[in-house]
């Protein structure tokens, strides 16, 4: 019994440390450092302090009130940090950022995100949980449609190009935007590629097949208009 209590206490300590340490690290690297610079508004400093307080409160409440702890320690903390960055204004301009500190801060935020995650414990079977809904095991739906791997591979390869081209953008403000856009494009391409790869053919039958064209009529029409505008602009120049 005592060993169980000790083990639970140790697990709780590890869980709190996994969230708290990277969170404080990310906050110190990306919020505390800029707000401690000369000429920063008081509001930004107050919000930065509130962000840390929110994180500490979330971690402290995490065990007794998990949802409130998560709301404070994750959502509240991130929102307060974002608000502090907004209030910092030109202090966070891209041309004033120090690349090494920015990279270190990014690593801190990645670790913070992992700290909130969870993984299955060894020898723990999820279906043994008393809250798991009973029922027949779900059988696999069959084989992937032919060419699924090829379609997904093409989408992944296509997603690499925007990420590569983003490094060619030399204008500082545009460079950050280009990387954000490239990541968004890559995510959209891989998601769409995966959807097309697995949902072709029999997995999502739509009869008659012409109905599929009807479903896409609106987006295809807007696409056609955009292409026509592009062609006209090309010939006009």
């Amino acid at each position: 019994m005592s060993a169980d209590v000790d083990e639970r206490a140790a697990n709780e300590l590890v869980r709190r440390a996994n969230v708290l340490l990277p969170g404080v690290y990310a906050w110190a690297a990306t919020v505390l450092y800029p707000v401690s610079l000369h000429g920063v508004s008081v509001y930004a400093r107050v919000v930065a302090g509130a962000a840390l307080a929110t994180l500490l409160a979330g971690v402290a409440l995490g065990r007794r009130r998990p949802s409130l702890g998560r709301a404070l320690g994750l959502h509240g903390f991130v929102m307060a940090c974002v608000l502090a960055w907004v209030l910092l204004g030109p202090v966070l301009a891209v041309d004033r950022l120090e690349p090494t500190k920015a990279a270190v801060g990014a690593v801190g935020w990645v670790l913070f995100a992992f700290g909130w995650g969870g993984s299955r414990e060894p020898e723990h079977v999820p279906e043994d949980d008393p809250r798991a809904l009973p029922g027949e095991p779900l059988p696999p739906r069959g084989k992937l449609p032919r060419g699924a791997v090829l379609v997904l591979s093409l989408a992944i390869a296509g997603a690499a190009f925007p990420l590569i081209f983003a490094w060619r953008v030399t204008r500082s403000a545009h460079a950050l935007f280009a990387h954000a856009v490239a990541i968004g494009c890559a995510v959209a391409l891989v998601s769409s590629g995966a959807e097309i790869a697995v949902r072709r053919g029999k997995w999502a039958p739509v009869e008659p097949q012409t109905r599929r064209l009807g479903q896409a009529a609106a987006s295809l029409t807007i696409l056609a208009i955009v292409i026509v505008v592009g062609v006209i602009e090309l010939f006009a120049n």
Binding site: R168, A188, A204, P205, T210, V226
Partner: protein, 60 residues
């Protein structure tokens, strides 16, 4: 017919990938308007490619 529509959706996906790549490349070439054009075209190409697959309920 099914194969044609499948091929069309894959072609639209490839078109979307190309348009996104051209959009980010145009940003690097300091052609901001062209970049915006290609990014919008890419988004529409991707949307069209998935709309070709998505079954919608009857009556919509």
């Amino acid at each position: 017919m099914r194969k044609i529509v499948d091929a069309l959706s894959i072609l639209l996906l490839l078109g979307g990938a190309s348009a996104f790549a051209l959009g980010v490349k145009a940003l690097g070439d300091e052609r901001d308007l062209a970049s915006l054009y290609w990014l919008v075209a890419g988004a529409l190409l991707l949307r069209s490619s998935t709309d070709l697959l998505r079954p919608k309920p009857e009556g919509r």
